[in-house]
Symmetry: C2
């Protein structure tokens, strides 16, 4: 790549903005600089400058585009393009459209990022429904990409097919596994199982030209035996949020056990460091945000509670994604298919 890339970041996005965004950018700086990427903040200039000063972060390494407004969790996702064009989110996405930046990351209102990204950047030719995927850690160590993770709650069979195409291309480009295995999330392995939508999606996927391994079940998501798990966004979102809650359920159980008596407290104190080491690579933060796939441009969406470490990983993920022409590859795959 000849010119340097610019990764935009919504400095007013998440629950701990702009602090965690600044700290995350600081953490990502060396790695991104080395691979030829610069970082541009979008947000209230005075807020960002005073936070940077307080945190001891020099803004001279970064560029900054002032935006008067911020998108909140109370904003209707679809309203941003009409009502909040001066927001850091809209501006950051619009810079991608104008090719003034090469990617945009935000930990703000997920629905708003999706809606704004889709409208402003437009859908990739051949894509009816852009999707967001999310990575699950697995036993084998190879992550599973579950898609759709909540962008589309009502899906037709051909939408599931599109998710499979977008997920496969993203996975092979970013994780580096060619021809990754695609499974259709269902209630049983037999092709005759499932609701009306997945029954039809199953036959579409068999003719898709993807490495479709058939139906997979809830228990297969974290084995590592399948690379892309395709489902509607209703199911995907519920599984994702359930999965995210498990660590806190475990934590609650452990502290409840420790509180029972002093001996239990000692036992927990002894066991905890080991458990933490074991669970380290089950940490969602390492995957740093999820891509909005199927729009003309790179948009990475992060959890509102992202730590600086998670935001650093989002920025790196955004750079990796921008370096690969994911949208172009999705377009040419779908075009090639429709010509068959």
């Amino acid at each position: 790549m000849s010119r340097r890339l610019i990764i935009g970041i919504d400095a007013m996005g998440g629950d701990f903005a702009p602090d965690n965004e600044l700290l995350g950018a600081q953490l990502a700086y060396e790695e991104l600089h080395h691979r030829g990427c610069d970082i541009m903040f979008f947000g209230q200039e005075t807020t960002i400058r005073s936070a940077a000063q307080r945190l001891g972060i020099s803004l001279s390494r970064f560029s900054l585009t002032h935006a008067d407004e911020s998108v909140t969790m109370h904003d209707e996702p679809a309203s941003i393009v009409k009502k909040k064009r001066n927001s850091s989110m809209y501006q950051g996405i619009d810079f991608v459209r104008e090719k003034r930046t090469d990617a945009f990351v935000s930990t703000g209102n997920t629905g708003a990022v999706m809606a704004t990204g889709t409208v402003v950047l437009g859908r990739v030719k051949g894509v009816a429904r852009p999707t967001i995927g999310t990575f699950f850690p697995t036993i084998s160590g190879t992550p599973t990409l579950l898609t759709d993770a909540g962008a589309n709650v009502d899906c037709k069979p051909r939408h599931l097919m599109e998710f499979a195409v977008m997920g496969s291309i993203y996975y092979s480009e970013i994780i580096g596994i060619n021809n990754p295995k695609v499974g259709l999330l269902n209630v049983g392995e037999e092709p005759t199982k499932g609701n009306e939508v997945v029954l039809e999606a199953h036959s579409l996927l068999q003719q898709s030209g993807l490495n479709f391994i058939g139906n997979v079940e809830g228990r297969d998501i974290m084995t590592g035996d399948v690379h892309i798990v395709v489902c509607d966004g209703f199911t995907g979102n519920i599984v994702l949020k359930f999965a995210e809650s498990i660590i806190s359920v475990l934590r609650g159980k452990i502290s409840g056990f420790a509180d029972q008596n002093l001996w239990n407290k000692v036992r927990v104190a002894t066991a905890l460091p080991t458990l933490k080491s074991v669970l380290k690579d089950m940490d969602y933060q390492q995957y740093g945000g999820v891509p909005l796939l199927g729009v003309n441009g790179v948009v990475i969406i992060g959890h509102g509670k992202s730590t600086p470490f998670a935001i650093k990983n989002m920025l790196v993920r955004a750079a990796e994604t921008a370096e690969h022409d994911i949208s172009g590859k999705i377009e040419s795959f779908l075009q090639h298919r429709s010509e068959l």
Copy 2:
């Protein structure tokens, strides 16, 4: 209750039948005997007798009804009522219909138990779709009943409403919490969220007369803040199987960590007993099977890999359920509602 109850058990059901069924019945014997319940095995008499002899279990405490055939995992669920009337499953359910027994438990082909139970026993008046619910352990200790857990993969809004009614009545009778809290599983808390089916189900539930607390998300299933979580069987089954896989994922991660080096092995050996104590009441087995709700009779379905301990709990659960007139209460609730 004046007369003794009889709980039937499919001795040819699960992966370890008839051994685990015999051992489970043996474990349950004292408790059931004490509460006025007897146990009746259904299955191949010679197979059961020789297993009992090998395991040192005296069959004199139990009754036995011979059934020539067994239902396998390869049998089409709907075919049992036509083709396998001599099976232990059909006979066991038919005995409930004839009121020769008061409940039936099976760890066999789940779909076959559901289909046969529904056809042979008939649906409770007012119920369009019988449901199977499943208990999740929670942080607070009060279990959550998720229903439907896989019986109905295509649902209309009124089916979700029925699941809520059946789940509420079962929960209050068996767990002993009056007016339990019902949540609708969805992708967000706001009533405007979700797919078409849940949007309409939300308004039906508001008028249901149940203690409906609104939408809940995947992360709320294991907090204990909601007692009954209502969803379609497609979503429910995927969440259930995902949840069931977590313990084995943890186990895989722990053994992978231990295998890295000797020091890790020592750390894991030290920490494991504590972890096991903590996770003890997260064990699905303690809830002993799930009820088929909405049919005229008590049928409890267990996991094919149920241990003797799990089967013992299924038998106890079946006795508890038979002692309460769940079907009658569902019928009168629905009748009362339709008269409003």
